[in-house]
């Protein structure tokens, strides 16, 4: 009777270690998969880019008086933006795309190819952030401003 009890205890301890190994394996897998991937900050970055553009185009609800002079060539300078990126992964300063639509006037800057990826699904697809705001001018004319911001940087975020 006592012999059986001892045998049962040994079996229990074998199971105990088996459970420990399974739990440890699961923990190692989860931690490795979580910390092995980079932090994905593209959506936050696209949101900040949208805010920056909105602040450039509208001040306290009034549209920037110079908005008529804005175009693809001077938009980055006028709004204090710089789309240069680190020289890595054959990036060629083509990781951003913005498109601003003010009363049917469209200004687009950056890598136009990224716009096509807005229809793609999956984690590799760059996030496309669309926002709208309303502004008035000094004559109380209304303007609807649509902003589309896309940040790629897939290699550093996925």
């Amino acid at each position: 009777m006592q012999k059986n009890k001892k045998g049962a205890e040994k079996i229990i301890s074998v199971y105990w270690f088996a459970i420990l190994f399974i739990v440890a394996g699961a923990m190692v897998y989860m931690v490795s998969s979580f910390y092995g991937k980079p932090y994905d900050v593209r959506e936050i970055e696209a949101g900040l880019l949208t805010n920056k553009i909105a602040e450039c185009l509208s001040v306290e609800g009034y549209i920037n008086e110079n908005w008529g002079n804005l175009n693809t060539d001077n938009f980055l300078d006028q709004c204090g933006l710089d789309f240069n990126t680190e020289e890595i992964y054959s990036w060629n300063d083509d990781q951003y795309y913005i498109e601003v639509n003010i009363s049917e006037k469209i200004i687009s800057v950056g890598n136009t190819n990224l716009k096509g990826s807005c229809f793609l699904q999956g984690k590799n697809a760059p996030p496309c952030l669309e926002s709208s705001l309303y502004a008035i001018d000094l004559q109380d004319n209304n303007y609807k401003i649509n902003i589309l911001s896309i940040v790629r940087k897939t290699e550093k975020n996925v």
Binding site: M27, V31, Y35, L48, K52, I88
Partner: protein, 135 residues
């Protein structure tokens, strides 16, 4: 003789239990060491701070000063004998965080401003970033 046998039996049970407990403790300690080494890894912190600083700059306006507590990163740099004053550097609009000689992580920001990254030599825990207009 009967008494002696009984004593030995009790001794065996105790030894088995001690070995069992010690093995468990060793196992859990190794697991915890692995978890802490992964979460506080230099490469993880380099990436985290490079991205955090780039996003802070993107959200900032000229004439702002941003203080960032980087105590954990500074401790790792000190362990690696890397100067704390050279952890954060800026080249153009790219922020690089480096905690060891053969490491480093860079991330770019889109805000076209002048940024000065400075190590706080008084607290020795923080970095502060002075944002100003580009000349």
């Amino acid at each position: 003789m009967k008494n002696l046998l009984k004593k030995n039996k009790r001794g065996n049970i105790l030894t088995e239990n001690i070995i069992f407990i010690v093995l468990n403790i060793v196992f859990i300690t190794i697991l915890l060491l692995f978890l802490f080494s992964r979460t506080g890894d230099a490469s993880v912190l380099e990436e985290k701070y490079a991205k955090q600083i780039a996003l802070l700059i993107d959200a900032a306006e000229p004439i702002m000063t941003i203080n960032l507590n980087m105590e954990d990163a500074i401790k790792i740099a000190e362990k690696e004998n890397f100067p704390a004053g050279e952890i954060v550097t800026r080249t153009g609009n790219v922020i690089t965080v480096k905690l060891r000689e053969d490491g480093g992580y860079s991330y770019s920001f889109f805000n076209d401003v002048e940024v000065n990254a400075n190590f706080d030599t008084i607290t020795k825990k923080e970095y502060y970033f002075v944002i100003s207009e580009k000349e």
